[in-house]
């Protein structure tokens, strides 16, 4: 599924996200090519942080870089920007631009495969029927289509340990709810447009919920605090409701 990509230069576009962050765009579509550029840039940035760098969020096609404008400006005053550019945004823009043009893409020919048990429909998947109706399918067909694919973890975001997955079939794509639900149970498996993912903790959200997993995706006492990581490959394994509690207990006991 993943093909090694080598050579080439990452292209990018940048724009501000407020006055203390900058979004670096690597492409317009979700694909593995763009994903590898995102990964390469993130890895490089984290191992070569600039003065004032606070954090970054890699997403499907972009990386957002958070910085402290005061620290950036102070460095700018003394470094190669002195006298010229006073705007912290412009200083960071220059730094990142240089990083991007100098970037080589990551090669990869190995990845982890993680099997995630999911109980579909019923009380665990209140939107399964809506997804089926929207796509002119039976609920059982939605389950088959959803669980037979291999999914690439593009990024972790939205909630701790929440994987954004690529590779979902267009046949079950369904738009988000118009108004987000105020609370969705931990472990819920959802669909939003062409994306699918799993909620690791209880949180508000607008996704269509088709099932639930007993697995813990958020591991606050571990480093990294997430079961899944960018680059992993996921397979969903349908389980019947009576096995849900068993799996839950099994995983818990395995941990202790």
């Amino acid at each position: 599924m993943l093909q090694p990509i080598s050579g080439g230069r990452a292209k990018s576009q940048m724009k501000p996200l407020g006055d203390s962050a900058i979004l670096v765009q690597f492409g317009a579509e979700i694909n593995e090519d763009v994903h590898l550029r995102v990964k390469a840039f993130t890895d490089y940035l984290e191992t070569h942080p600039f003065a004032g760098f606070l954090d970054c969020i890699p997403a499907f096609t972009s990386v957002t870089v958070f910085y402290n404008p005061l620290v950036v400006r102070r460095q700018g005053d003394s470094g190669s920007f002195s006298g010229k550019e006073r705007s912290p945004y412009k200083i960071v823009h220059s730094i990142l631009e240089e990083m991007v043009t100098g970037l080589e893409e990551t090669n990869t020919d190995k990845w982890r495969v993680v099997e995630i048990p999911v109980c579909y429909g019923g009380e665990f998947g209140p939107d399964l029927e809506a997804v089926a109706r929207h796509n002119h399918l039976l609920p059982s067909e939605v389950i088959t289509i959803h669980s037979e694919a291999d999914y690439l973890v593009y990024m972790i975001g939205f909630a701790p340990g929440f994987p954004y997955l690529g590779g979902m079939s267009e046949k079950i794509a369904t738009p988000r709810h118009t108004s987000p639900r105020l609370s969705i149970p931990a472990g819920s498996v959802g669909i939003a447009c062409s994306q699918t993912g799993v909620y690791p903790i209880s949180t508000p959200g607008g996704w269509q919920i088709i099932g639930r997993t007993p697995a813990d995706l958020f591991l606050p006492d571990e480093n990294p605090p997430s079961l899944l990581q960018s680059g992993d490959v996921i397979r969903f394994k349908p389980i019947p409701p009576e096995e849900y509690k068993i799996y839950k207990v099994r995983i818990y006991e395995h941990k202790s």
Partner: protein, 336 residues
């Protein structure tokens, strides 16, 4: 040194300046909603400005002070009292062992901060003492305070001892004694214009209809009851995107104003999720985030557009004022 929680109040939790470095695992930043008030509270009692403090929301707690404490209360005026007597905000206060520290009516703002000299004795989780309420980690046992909780405080730094002793002597047998000087928050934050929040255009501003763009800056928005540390849901006439589209999920920040399909914007705040898929119409400037934190449901506000350069300038000016304040406090402690 410790404090016992008799009544927890509406939502009282430990927050510092947030948890950075783990957003790529989806671990949110959290932290104080009004970071300026938090920092000033800490500076007033001789702490590092980013030390964890109690963030108190609308209805404050009732606490028994088990040992002499050196505190400062900043942020909104939630009628703090010690043994029933009104305590002034924005200044160092000595509190006598055995006193009851409580709150009354919410007079101005909506969130108060209480810093204790020496800070609170809780473990850091992923480099921060902020409470991630939904994630159940950080702060005091990963949650808001409950009745019966006992929170430990660290020993106060040496540089605070002189002022503490001076106030203690001034207090005598009285339950508390406050310094006769204070900080005026209006000298750091744009409190005078708190119902005109300054923003810059968001990444998807151009995706909204011209009528909606105009409307966003002209109309008054009301803060709905569905508002909390994650974000404030605000209401006005619904805003419309040019065509129906959904963004590929990407990062959001503190102050991002996103607009779901129903057209009612959400201002994302301290406990926001790391990424979102709704179009972003604007971004609240960092310098005005403390103002948002002090608004409460039912109140109204407007948005005023400024440029990124102006937003950066305002941020840097605010930091300069904080720096002057820090120097003033250092010299003050020398004098005392």
């Amino acid at each position: 040194m410790s404090i016992k929680v008799e009544r927890p109040g509406l939502l009282t939790s430990l927050q510092d300046l947030g948890r950075y470095g783990f957003q790529k695992y989806g671990v949110i930043v959290s932290g104080a909603m009004d970071a300026v008030s938090l920092r000033i509270a800490n500076l007033l009692v001789g702490n590092q400005e980013g030390e964890a403090a109690l963030e108190i929301t609308l209805v404050g707690p009732s606490l028994t002070v088990k040992e002499d404490l050196f505190i400062a209360i900043t942020g909104g005026d939630l009628s703090p009292q010690i043994d029933g007597e009104s305590v002034p905000l924005w200044r160092p206060v000595y509190v006598r062992k055995g006193s009851i520290f409580s709150f009354g009516a919410c007079r101005t703002g909506s969130r108060a901060y209480v810093a204790v000299s020496g800070g609170f004795a809780v473990e850091e989780v992923m480099n921060s003492k902020s409470t991630y309420l939904r994630g159940g980690i950080g702060g005091f046992k990963g949650r808001a305070l409950k009745a019966g909780d006992i929170i430990q405080c660290n020993k106060m730094p040496k540089k605070s001892e002189d002022l503490f002793i001076k106030l203690k002597n001034k207090g005598g047998f009285h339950p508390f004694a406050a310094a006769d000087w204070y900080v005026n928050p209006a000298s750091v934050v744009n409190i005078k214009n708190k119902t005109e929040i300054r923003v810059i255009r968001g990444g998807e501003f151009d995706h909204f209809t011209p009528a909606s763009q105009k409307q966003f800056f002209e109309q008054e928005f009301k803060i709905t009851p569905n508002s909390d540390r994650m974000g404030y849901r605000i209401e006005g006439r619904a805003l419309k995107a040019e065509e129906s589209f959904e963004l590929i999920s990407e990062a959001v920040s503190h102050g991002t104003i996103q607009v779901p399909k129903d057209g009612n914007p959400i201002i994302l705040l301290a406990d926001r999720q790391t990424t979102g898929g709704y179009p972003k119409i604007a971004q609240v400037i960092t310098a005005d985030l403390p103002l948002i934190a002090q608004l409460k449901p039912g109140e109204k506000t407007r948005f005023k557009e400024i440029t990124l350069e102006e937003a950066e300038q305002l941020y840097l000016e605010q930091e300069q004022k904080m720096q002057q304040l820090k120097m003033g406090l250092q010299l003050k402690k020398h004098k005392e």
